[in-house]
Each structure stands twice: as structure tokens, then as C-alpha cells.
Amino acid sequence: MRDLVEPKKKERLPDYVKALENVFQESNKERRTTFYRYGAWRQSKRKKEFYKHARQLEKEMGLPRYNPELGIPLGQRKIAPYQISKENVMVEGEDMHICNNAAIMQMFDDVARTAIMDLTPVHEILQKRLGKSVTPDTLNRVMEVWNHTIGGAAAVQEHMFEINPLLVKDGYVKLFCGDDKISDLLDKRMVVDINRLFPADKAALLKKDLGDKIFALARIPTIAVRNYGSAMTKRWVATTCLSAFANVYGISGETAINTLVYTLRHRTVIGIGDTIAVRYGRGENSPGGIPFGYICDIVQTDRVYPEDPVRYLLDVAEMSSIMLDAGWLQQMLSGGLGAPIRVLFLMSNEVFDSIVEHMAGWVKERYGGYGRAPCTIATIEDVAQATAKYCQDMYDSSPLVSEMLFGGSLRSRVMAYSAAITGGLASAHPMIGVEAAHLTQMIRKERTGRLGFFAQDQFHNQGHANDWTLLTDQAQVMELRNASYPDYNVVANLTTFPSAIAGSYIARGGAYACNPVIKVAFSENLAGFDFGNIRKSLVKGALREFMPEGERDPVIPPH
């Protein structure tokens, strides 16, 4: 293990050192820190702002409000801002708390409000049971009406009270199809143009796998999921769709219409998150039910920046950490834990970027390219040792890195994410990445005695057995596992798994990691979060430049 602790000599000052020296205002070479001389919470501009607001609220409400004096004595360490990697923007931690960042909230909402409908069975019922003629013209008309009803407007019944269109302006429906001849017959305003959105090679693959089925991409209004929860999305989509069909084809009150609804609701609608166990208290389309492979397909950086696969890998890691850790584990399961570090630690101060860039280069150098390593235990060991060594060297050589990745859990997790990506990239198989991630943790545990908190140790100690198993409550390909998977439900390190899938997808090539329908569905988002520019969107949220949807301004007093 001696070579693990030897600092690696570098000729040039790495980007992460520059960034950290900037945020901590100290030299990386300094071995005596002045971290402990800061003025408690008053060193944070944002906390001071919150303090001032709270005093005003106390006067107005007559109740104790936010008061950092009551918390643990902050100021033992520097509350450093975070320099967002590659974006050269400095943000405060508070600005990446989910509730303080409108972009992150919109990210959650956009996933929760999305469903896709395969219209083929519906068209068959219309033609066979109702004798209706389905043509491009009628479908275009359906889409026009559906874009009316998706906002909660009426199409088949009178005296319905409708929603102010300004409240629901982000709800919309579009079509996509793998057959260009069919797409060409449809109203261009309401078609997701795969040829325009994707590079030619990816578009061709997607269209081949989608075939001639016609899919409808539906995003229900943000305000609807905020009011009624994500499990309602599929119902909203099915009911508003049916209204449009009923309107255009002149059908009502008969059994065929019910068969249509049943087909729409239960047989052809595709959600993003699966149903999960009752104890988690969440319905469909919640982060806890999203297959890991879907997260890789929701992220669109591979489409927007096909020449920069590392950027895609970083974004998958980032989104996993936000959706599954900061959101699902910290907020939805634990309830109210503020852990913006789970948003920040992978995209700040060039640390994680540097590691992933380095390890991606290592894969090329070691194996002659992505996806060329054999899928063997030897590769798992190779990847794990190389990643663990690189990360541990960095932690050991830079007190600033260790201070930024405070506590053992973040340092462990960065290592796990990096190994997951590296193993996937090397072998083109997610299992190699996941296994390498577990093994890095065992290496680190061997060195440090433990990882982070107990659940983290639990997760990785069980990891190898859980990965390879055929036991019925554990056996599943990595792409279809999710955050509610047995043994994954309590620990943030599960969020590393999508990275292994993303790495293997990049190594394999192709156009999607798991599901072509999901890939196309998130290639366009007319109003909301930009899944092709995740980091930029998050920064906009932190800088209060991101305009979210679903606000109630049109129906509340001016403010």
C-alpha cells in the first residue's frame, strides 16, 4: 500500500488545486490551516441574508424562526463557496439546496411530469372496434385538441371549469416516430424531430429501434405534479388524451371508449419511475422508482456534445447524485435533511472532473480505447486499484481536496463514482464498473479502517454478493435496478451505479443506454430544465437566473 500514499509529482499545477486555492484562499502547500479563524455563520453571505429575513419574520409571526445561533457552532471551518467546474462561476452552498434552486426543482418536476404513450394499440381499437378511419389529418387534429386538454381544459363535456392557461403553459404533447415517412405527414409543430435533435448516426439507430410505432410525448403542467403528485401523471396524460380522441372521433359513453381508456392508462402509457413498495410513501414517477438506465437516457449531453463523452459521464453522475441522493434519500426518505453538498461535490472545484478526465485517459492508455478491456475479475481489480490509487493520492497530497470532500463519505463516494465510470468505460459492461466501485471501497477501507457512515460500509460489504446474485429479490440487470432496490434503500452510494451504466454505454457506442423511447422523450423540453446542459442549468438556478414553471403568479396578488 505504500505507493498509494506517495504524492504524485506533477509538473503543472492541476486545475483542481487552482480552484481550491481560490475558494479556500489558501495555498495547497500550506500545512497549517487558518480554517478555524472564521466568524461562524457570519462568514456566509447567504446565511446572513437568511438571518435578516428571519428576524423580520419573527416580528410578523410572533414565532421563533431560522436562527443559526441555535445550531452547531459553525465557523470551526471555513464556509467556502464552490467554484462550479468548467463554468468558472462561484456559488454558495445554500444556493444548491434543492429548495433554494429553482432549476433543481424543475429537474425533479420535469421527470415527474413526463409520460409517453404508444398510440398504436389505441389506433387499432379505433379502427377495429369503432370503425373509425385514422389518418394523418385526424391525428393532427387529435394533437391540436390534446394540447388544449393537457392544460386541464375541456373537450367533451360542457360546464367544466378550466385552468388559467398561464398556469399550465408548460404542459404540452408532441409525437415522435421512427419512420420518417410517417413523421413527414404530421403537423411539424407537434413532432419531436429526431433528425434535427440527434447526430445522424444516433438518429438512425433510434429510428430503427422505434420502428413505425407512433409515440406521444406528454409533459403535464408542472403545477399539476406539484399539487397532485407524480403518481397522477399517467392518469392525467391518459384522461386528457382520451378527451382529445373522443372529441376528434366523435365517441362518447360506450364501452369502446372505456377500452380505449384502459388501454391508454394501463397498457400503453410509459412512465419514468416504476411503482415502489408502500413503505417509501411515493407513487409512480418518483425518483425512487426510476430505473438507473433511464437516468442515463434522460441525460442528453451525449446528444448535444457527442464529441465530449466525459462531459456526459460527469452529468450522469451529477444527475444521479441530485435525484437519488440529495432528493430521494436526503429529502424524500429522510425528510428535511439539507445536503446540498450532494449536489455540489461532483461538480465543484474541478476535483471530480479532474479524476474522471484522468481515468478516461487511463482507460485509453491501458486498454487501447474504450470498451476493449476483457470483462474479467482481473479488469475489475485493475480498474479499482488504479482509481483508488489516483483518488487516494489526491486526498493525501492535497489538504484542500480533503477539506472540500469533508468526512470520509464524500471521499469514498468520489472514488466509487470514478471507479464505476472507469470500469464501464473500460469494459463496456456496467457490472465491471459497479464491481470496481465496490472494490475501491474495500481498498479504501483497508487503508482507513472504515468508509463514511455505517450504511456505506454495509452497502459495499454486501456489494459483490448482491451484484452477481440470482436470488429473486436481488437479481436484476443494472439498468433496471433503482433506488428502492433491495439493499439499496438507505445508502447514497447506490447513486454511483448509473455512472457504470453510462460508462459502458459510451464504450459500446449506440444512441441510448437502456430505452430509446426515454432518450427521445427527454431530447426536447420546451419549457423547463435543459437535460443537455445540466451544469449550466444548475448554475442558472444558483444565480437566480432560472425561471421555473408552475408558479401561481397569474392567480395571486402582485408581489
Partner: protein, 448 residues
């Protein structure tokens, strides 16, 4: 404490109107006391079908978990599961047997495309719920495939995904290849609802589209739910036992005679008249009061027995109407109109004291409106609507499905046809009324 009994006897007639047993003790119809019903439940509970053809197609392309997921790195284009189905079957059988003489059954159907797995009794006795067949049968199939084709560990879990679909990431086998007559416990509306998850299509498939047998089988599952849910005790016991005997098992030939008499020209109103006349003749109801207008109000002499008669009329009206149209969709309207007319024209309580009417109304809405629900054949009693009527509505839904001649988009043959093959030779399923009657007499004799 007095033992809980219903000291009554009925004569049971089969679906041809022939007397099959006299003086059948009503108590013997309790599923907990009737070996014919328990045999049916046992066979259902231990049965699962693995769609080997679907597993093969999933693995050949890497299309796992349904909903257009496709992961070519798991694909095994050459895998020939159906071609080697017999070898898979042998391996699965070896996995699930607990002894050479146990009653496990593993068989192939549809030229090796489907694998029937029936667990041995000893395994069932260990199980805490009814998911063991799906899980044991599925696990055995996965391991048999992995072993038979010597599948790489990196692809072995794809076999699990091909068989189990999204499970355990979700709560059921979405996208998988497991067919069970029963729904998963995690989707139960309430505790004790396991037997209510059997769909109308499954029941009609087992009954080979015979309407009266469908009603009988449906009654068996509903009665078994009542046992599980604690609803067949005390003051409700006689109500449901008599209802089962009369509506589902054609006691006193009431259902058969009514349908026979009115099948050609009958209407729901005529069915009501027929049932009321019979009830008057039998002393089950009586005239309570004649109003000045001439309108006569009736009252039950025996409330539970009248309810059973009324339920017979509801099933008969369903068969007359849906049979005439050869269309299942009107069953909800029949339930509503039958009960409302009965109530308003006689003053007598309708079936299950308003529950059937309510169920009919909501069923009408849910099968005819844009708010969803599902087709008649897809209905189960584990549904927000049908669950509210205990026992009496599902037999009508099943009879209607059986009488449908092709108007359903999701008919039994398309959805659950395999179950007609599996249980084809089992006497209890072939002749439920005869079997249950015989077992009830046996149970009665045993008590004496």
C-alpha cells in the same frame, strides 16, 4: 359456546338443470369445510406459467423489462429455449421437487412455448403468502436456463430480468414472463383479498366459457376471500352461504329454471316477476301491505334466504340479457336495473342491501366512460368498485364474460387462455357444482 353452524340443506342442480345432490348441508359449502373448493384453491395457488417463448425472444434481443427497453449487450441471439424446452422442464422439475413422490407437476404446453409449474404441497405449506409459485417457479426457470446454456455470469441476470421483468425493482412482474391466475399481494385493496385478484377472464377460461360454471367458480373465490377476510363468521355467515348455494351453485334449480323459462323472450322485469313468484310460493317473502293505489309492498320472511333468491335473479337477468346480445358489456346495466326495479316495484331489499346496486352503477360508469376502469373480462373483485359487493356481483361479471361472443378487445382466449388448458382435466374445475355438492355432503356426514 355453541358451534357455528347453519343447520340447513339445499338441493343442488348442475348447469344442465339436472339434480346432482339432494339435502346438501349448507355448512358444507364453507370453503374451509369443502374439500372440492380447497382442492381448487390449492391447485390455483400452486400454479404458475412461465412463458418460455417470451423469455427466449427477450434474451435473443436484449429486450428486458418491457416498455421498449433494449440492451443489446445482454442479448444472446442463438439461445434456443423453446427448442430445448424439455430439458429446461426436467431441470425445473428437479429443482422444485421435495421428494420423488410429492405432487409437483412441471409440464410443457403450446409446443414447449409455455412451462407449467405447480409446486408440491410441502413447499406450499411453508409459504406465508401465495407468491411462492411465481418466485420458486421463476427462480427454477432462471437457474435452469443459466445451467442449460452455461450462461456467462455477466448475462445471467438478464435471464432473471427476462423471467421476472422489473421485479424486484418494482412490486410486480411488469415486463416479465410470469403468468399467474392471481395478482401480486402488494396490489391488494385490503387484507385477505388474495382470492379476489382472480380475473373474470381467468375464471371464464377455466370454465371453458360455460356461464353457470363461471359463476360457480367465481363464487368459490369470493367465498374463500370471505373466509380469509373474517367475513364468514357470525351474523354474516348464513347470508353468504345461502347466497353461494343459490346464486353460484344453482340451488333448487332457481337460476337454471329462470333462464330456461325466460331465455328466449325474457326481460329483466320478467326475471324479477319470476323470482318474486317463486319466493312467494316458497314462503321466502310475503305481502306486507297493499297501498290505496293498489301498489303492493312485500317483505322478506327470511332475509338471508330472500337475498339468495334475489341474487339468483340478478345472475339469471345477466344471463338472459348478455346471453341474448352475446355481449358482456351490459352486465353493469343489468345489475343496476334489476336491483332498482326490484326495490322500487316490491319494497323488498335488493341484493346485499344496496351494495349490488351501487356496484352496478359504478361499474356502468367505469366500463362506459372516459374515466377508465377496464373491460368486463379484465375485472377482478380486487377493484375499488367490485370489492364493495361481497360475493354477489362477480359471478354476474363472469357469466357475462362467458356469454360474450367476440365484442371484447381483451377476451379470455387472448389474455388467459392457458388456464383452460392447465385445468382441463381436473374434475373440480370441469364440474364444480357436482364436486362441491359431493364434498359438502361428505363434510356434513363427517360432522354427524
Amino acid at each position: 359456546m355453541r358451534e357455528q353452524t347453519v343447520p340447513e340443506y339445499v338441493n343442488l342442480y348442475n348447469d344442465s338443470g339436472k339434480l346432482v345432490a339432494e339435502k346438501v348441508p349448507v355448512d358444507g359449502l364453507d370453503p374451509a369445510r369443502n374439500r372440492a373448493v380447497t382442492r381448487m384453491l390449492y391447485e390455483m395457488k400452486r400454479t404458475v406459467v412461465i412463458d418460455l417463448d417470451k423469455v427466449e425472444k427477450s434474451l435473443r434481443t436484449g429486450s428486458l423489462g418491457g416498455e421498449y427497453c433494449r440492451m443489446p449487450h445482454y442479448a444472446m441471439p442463438e439461445i434456443a429455449i423453446v427448442e430445448n424446452a424439455e430439458r429446461i422442464r426436467e431441470r425445473v422439475e428437479a429443482f422444485i421437487r421435495t421428494s420423488k413422490k410429492d405432487d409437483a407437476r412441471v409440464a410443457l404446453f403450446d409446443n414447449g412455448k409455455r412451462l407449467l409449474v405447480q409446486l408440491p404441497r410441502s413447499t406450499l405449506e411453508v409459504s406465508a403468502d401465495y407468491t411462492a409459485p411465481a418466485l420458486v417457479g421463476g427462480a427454477a426457470s432462471v437457474q435452469a436456463i443459466v445451467d442449460e446454456f452455461d450462461i456467462d455470469p455477466l448475462k445471467a441476470q438478464a435471464c432473471a430480468s427476462a423471467v421476472f421483468g422489473r421485479y424486484p425493482s418494482t412490486i410486480d412482474f411488469k415486463g416479465g414472463a410470469i403468468n399467474s391466475a392471481m395478482g401480486v399481494p402488494l396490489r391488494l385493496e385490503h387484507l385477505g383479498y388474495g382470492w379476489r385478484t382472480v380475473s373474470s377472464n381467468v375464471i371464464v377460461s377455466i370454465a371453458n366459457r360455460n356461464a353457470m360454471k363461471s359463476a360457480a367458480l367465481s363464487g368459490c373465490f369470493e367465498m374463500s376471500y370471505l373466509v380469509n377476510a373474517g367475513n364468514l363468521v357470525g351474523r354474516y355467515r348464513r347470508l353468504y352461504l345461502l347466497g353461494f348455494a343459490y346464486e353460484c351453485l344453482n340451488a333448487e334449480n332457481l337460476v337454471y329454471n329462470t333462464v330456461r323459462a325466460l331465455g328466449r323472450e325474457g326481460t329483466t322485469g320478467k326475471v324479477i316477476c319470476e323470482i318474486m313468484e317463486r319466493a312467494l310460493d316458497d314462503g321466502v317473502i310475503r305481502k306486507k301491505e297493499a297501498l290505496p293505489s293498489g301498489f303492493t309492498i312485500y317483505e322478506p320472511v327470511d332475509l338471508e334466504l330472500w337475498n339468495a333468491y334475489a341474487a339468483c335473479g340478478m345472475l339469471a337477468a345477466t344471463m338472459v340479457n348478455c346471453g341474448a346480445a352475446r355481449c358482456a358489456h351490459s352486465v353493469s346495466s343489468v345489475i343496476v336495473n334489476y336491483n332498482e326495479m326490484l326495490l322500487n316495484e316490491s319494497g323488498l331489499p335488493d341484493v346485499e342491501f344496496g351494495r349490488a346496486t351501487g356496484t352496478g352503477l359504478l361499474l356502468d360508469f367505469l366500463t362506459h366512460a372516459l374515466y377508465g376502469g377496464g373491460e368486463v373480462g379484465l375485472m377482478t373483485a380486487n377493484h375499488p368498485n367490485l370489492k364493495t359487493t361481497k360475493l354477489f356481483a362477480m359471478p354476474c361479471v363472469c357469466a357475462a364474460t362467458a356469454l360474450d361472443a367476440g365484442t371484447l378487445t381483451y377476451p379470455p382466449e387472448k389474455m388467459t387462455g392457458i388456464f383452460s388448458q392447465i385445468f382441463r382435466e381436473m374434475t373440480e374445475f370441469k364440474n364444480p357444482i357436482e364436486s362441491i355438492a359431493e364434498a359438502a355432503i361428505e363434510a356434513g356426514n363427517g360432522r354427524e
